[in-house]
Amino acid sequence: MRIQLSLWALAMLPALAIAQSAGAPPPKPSQGEAIRWEKSFPAIESGKWTGKRLSDGQPDVQGNWANTIANQNNWIDPQAGEPGARPPKTARNERAPSRVSDPADGQVPFQPWARTLQQEFFTNFRNPVKPEYIEPFARCAPGGVPKSFTWHGYEIRQYPGYVLFLFNSGTRIVHLDGKPHLPGSIKLWNADSRGHWEGNTLVVDVTNNNAKARLGRSGEFASDNVHIVERYIFDNGGKRYNYVATITDPTVYTQPWTATIPSRRYGLEQGDEPDGWHYEGEIANRPGKPPMDEYYERICVENNGGFGQVATTQAR
């Protein structure tokens, strides 16, 4: 039986200890490891799409993608580690900027009560003495919007009328078909997504959020009144995109704010190797032909684990 060991284990010291005692080799640094520690990233302007298109006219952005700066540990200081971890040795300006790109101070503009609650979640992350301190993601809940883009790599598949996101935890269907949002009383972990293309930019209107997912282990959150307008701005080389989302929620914030998550493509054709983290593909079995990646099923709650392990059975 094969077990896919993720670098996620690094954040889970007991799990790592088990893995080491079982003789598992430490995860080797890969290209994916290096690039997820980018300190800065290029801006990408919205504009014309001059790259490949699908037969229905959509820009072809299918394939494997992942964020380039850090995982979900800390929303506003992405490379500072998880709450309660040893403080980083670097100065703040030597680490990637806050995922809050507006306002300029990089802070989520919480109302005072909401700031207090976020700090409560932050402070109790390592010692969850109440059930609500346990990040729902750790119970296999979908990452939600926008946190899913700061977790493992994910695959984008496109179809006439749809963009499909296959995350390590959860699946998101973006409708391009012009159908209206679901009735407002329906609330969902991954919300309800209606999109359209404007040149190189996929614009998605996101409502019906159940507000149960958090933005990071650092405890940031929204309410179920939140309205998110996402702009996925793809560079014409097809190698990168920036996720830029305007997040409005008068229940929780004092003003709308903007989240920015830089992301890059992963693929065999550009020299990447699947690493079980940013690049989750598997190598397809096709003797005599060039290597090609493919995607296995993701299983989480069934395996009593904290993320989408594949091809394993640990329920017994």
Binding site: W113, E132, P160, A222, A284, T313
Partner: protein, 273 residues
């Protein structure tokens, strides 16, 4: 011909009205098909096709059968509506020891069906489970998103083989499809033994091997059959058959059902001041 005859007998005004109604009906039907994404390049047989000419199963599908309650014929009982079953020959050919296990499963079904924990349903159970699933199709694969758990099954149709590693244990199996004319034939193996085949406790081992056949009966109906073999559990291969209907309700869509989150939903109330 019968319809034309009735038009004529309805008289002049009635005839015009009937023709108008017929035209409106045809237009509405076209709109429905267009909304369902079924019109790409309809071939001579009137079924939707990809540009490549292969049948296009894109859409949202669901069975109306009672298969998930019990694959075998059964009278009504407290936890199941009656059903004639979907097993060819009615009975699943269990080996003796496996039949005893099935009986134990049946007795404990109200507590031990993996469905009750919202676990991934498996193959073929996801296909006839009474919640919709959506097929997204490209030349290289079909992606099945099941509303239940929003789990994702990929059927590869790009000539790739099952993984060389033979001890994978997938919840949905590993699916490799090929076309035989307009029929998609899918070979599925590398299963675990955690899933049930229905709510009545019918089960399988890791040796399960499923061969599915997907074929359009018409543009909005799929004839789905599967052969199941498992030398540890069944004495011979056996067949099931269900019909899948396209959801054509206005604005119909999948609504995520991560039902396992309901167990801890209470701990995450909507934040408010």
């Amino acid at each position: 011909m019968l319809k034309l005859h009735s038009f004529v007998r309805a008289g002049s005004a009635g005839k015009q009205w009937s023709l108008l109604r017929a035209a409106t009906g045809a237009l509405a039907a076209l709109l429905v098909i267009a909304q369902a994404g079924a019109v790409h390049a309809a071939g001579p047989s009137g079924i939707p096709r990809l540009a490549s000419g292969k049948p296009d199963f894109s859409g949202i599908w669901q069975t109306t059968s009672a298969a998930d309650f019990d694959l075998e014929p059964h009278s009504a009982r407290k936890d199941a509506p009656p059903g004639a079953g979907i097993v060819e020959g009615n009975q699943i050919p269990y080996l003796p020891a496996a039949l005893e296990q099935k009986k134990r499963n049946f007795e404990a079904r109200t507590t031990t069906d993996p469905r009750l924990k919202c676990w991934t349903l498996g193959t073929p159970r996801g296909i006839y489970y009474p919640e919709p699933f959506q097929i997204f199709q490209r030349d290289r694969d079909l992606t099945l998103v099941f509303q239940f758990g929003h789990s994702v099954r990929t059927i590869n149709t790009n000539g790739t083989l099952h993984p060389e590693v033979t001890d994978n244990e997938f919840w949905l199996g590993d699916s490799r499809g090929k076309w035989e004319g307009d029929t998609l034939v899918v070979d599925v193996k590398d299963f675990n033994d955690e899933t049930w085949l229905d709510r009545a406790g019918n089960f399988h081992s890791t040796e399960l091997h499923v061969v599915e056949r997907w074929k359009f009966l018409d543009a909005n109906t799929i004839d789905y059959t599967a052969t199941l073999e498992d030398p540890k559990v069944f004495s011979r291969p056996w067949n099931i058959s269900v019909i899948l209907h396209r959801h054509r309700e206005k604005n119909f869509q999948l609504i995520e059902d991560y039902c396992y989150t309901l167990d801890y939903d209470q701990y995450y109330p909507v934040p408010h001041s």
